[in-house]
């Protein structure tokens, strides 16, 4: 049952990330995998944490803080979020 929930979650990760991002997309730009957090979405370090916190709640995972420097774009975040969901929920 749990494994099923996990794989279901993994396939939904993209949807959840994009849903959470809606609240943080102040200028209403079109979001794609290559959208940059800092350049396009104007994320500063405070907003990053608020966003991560919301994402953690929605995906029921804990995002390790040391992956942040590698997360340039929405696409890279989705790849990493999928991996974390897989690791934590099997």
């Amino acid at each position: 049952m749990k494994a099923e929930l996990g794989s279901d979650k993994s396939s939904n990760v993209r949807k959840v990330v994009l849903e959470v991002l809606k609240d943080f997309n102040k200028k209403g730009i079109v979001i794609s995998d290559s959208t940059s957090f800092v350049g396009d979405l104007e994320f500063d370090s405070l907003l990053v944490m608020e966003f991560i916190s919301e994402l953690e709640d929605q995906l029921d995972v804990s995002v390790p803080i040391n992956i942040l420097p590698d997360i340039e774009t929405v696409g890279i975040l989705i790849v990493n979020a999928k991996r974390i969901v897989r690791e934590e929920h099997g």
Binding site: S36, V38, G39, S45, V48, I65, P69
Partner: protein
Amino acid sequence: MQTFTPTDNYNLPKVLAQFDTLTEALDYAAKGETGFNFYSSKCELQSSISYKELSNKAKKLSFNLMGKGIVKGDRVALLAITSPDFLISFFACQYCGAIPVPLPPPLAFGRKEAYIEQTIRQLTSSGASTFLVSSEYLSFIGSSIKNTTEIISFSEIKLFKSLDKEIQVLPNDLSYIQYSSGSTRSPKGVAISHKNVMSNCVGMNSGVGNKIGERAVSWLPFYHDLGLVGFMLGCMTSQTSVDYISPIDFAKRPLTWLKLIDKNKATFSYSPSFGYELCSRIQKSYQKLPDNIDLSTWRVAGIGGEMIKPKVIEEFGRIFSSFGFKKSAFNPSYGMAECVVGATFSKLNLGMQVDHISKKEMIERHYALNIPIDDEKNGRTFVICGRVIKHHSIEIRNERGDILTERHIGNIFLSGPSIMQGYFQDKEETNNIIKDSWYNTGDLGYLIGDDLVVVGRSKDLMIVNGKNYWPQDVEWAVEKIDGMRSGDVAAFTLYQDDIGDEPTVLVEFRKSLGWNMKKFSNVLRNQIVEMVGLHCKIILIPPRSLPKTTSGKLSRRKAKEHFIRGLIKPLALS
């Protein structure tokens, strides 16, 4: 089961920082039961370290440091995460006479290159031979920083052979170097001696009226003076227990800060304006503080670190009064790393006091003429930041160096035993700002009696959400764009009543560059974000409209003044 350290020591008399060195202060605190406690974002106790354990572990680690070959005076960089490891390493350095250099971890999305460049420059400037980091960052930092500094994790350093040697620490020895000052391009390490830090802790503890029953809560990072000294050294030297959450957990769940104050009945906590603002915003929107939270024990709610926004502070007081928060607890203060941390504190139990002055008189005559508070159109409201700490002096001077009288606006100068030894190995910069033992803060303000009012932070520094940015870095980023020349750009913050300090960049626009104005603005904005991590308002202005000094250098102060007075007009978007 893990328990937290008590608020007061059972037998040890409270001594408010009257020690010669940090090691002497820790040896004294180690005779009691108080100490540091670390909580999770859910307000659960994760670890706790009494001053006694801290002293023992730090002494033991100092032997490993010496065994590794670190000698008195060597600089040791430390990744300043909120954890016992950082604190043990910091005090291990103290015991063996090494000079710790706390550096921030990378906390933004992306911007990897910018972080690495900044860290390398700080390591080079301090000449640190060793950089101790937490194991989670070991591979990232170890693989990207390729200079002569050896990078070792907090756990690996414990494996070095032990060299048991007593090192004498003297009041004039350096106790740490802090990099909150200076641009990325040319970092300036604030070098603080034991005597500096102890005298500031004496002044601060007396300023906030530390007494029996005091318990502190902090989320402030250890790489900033407010976190490192205000809520670590200041508390240790007065044997005060502190409950911490990390700045990351605070940013994720700001209300945890307030829950933690309730949890152990804390009396003392601090934040820049933006921390109070964040709590109000969250409380008004989706998260709510449980009704049974009680903030009535909070005796000193300090405000410092950036220009204080009166409206934000008033709103916090209003929203959280139903949780027992007392507005009279607000304590506006003023300070900077160059004088350790705190320079002035407000009188206790008065709350935030403001002065409403005429905009016209302020700009034209540099005079702070008090006008009725309801005259919003013609006035500006500033927060009164209190009196200078014990054994220190303050003066307001004009550009010529004359000392000004009450209500005349000028540069704020400080003198006293907390003023730093200087910028580390940078005599020229040090001599520029410390003359005849007076430190030129570069900030603007005026006095009402003995009370200081700050009207603008350093004409150079741009403080946004408590973080320092340097206009030189912003201007440099713009100058890197093809066709731009140095002197074409001026960056500063403009105070807007509703949003506070807004980072603003004036850029001379020449048609010959072949850009469309809108596109050009976007390119500039992105370039600054990539290189500096700051979102600025870009204002294009006609060529040759930025004022220059007699030697042809950009006069940032005049540029800002001309812009405010309408002498420089923005180009209309075509």
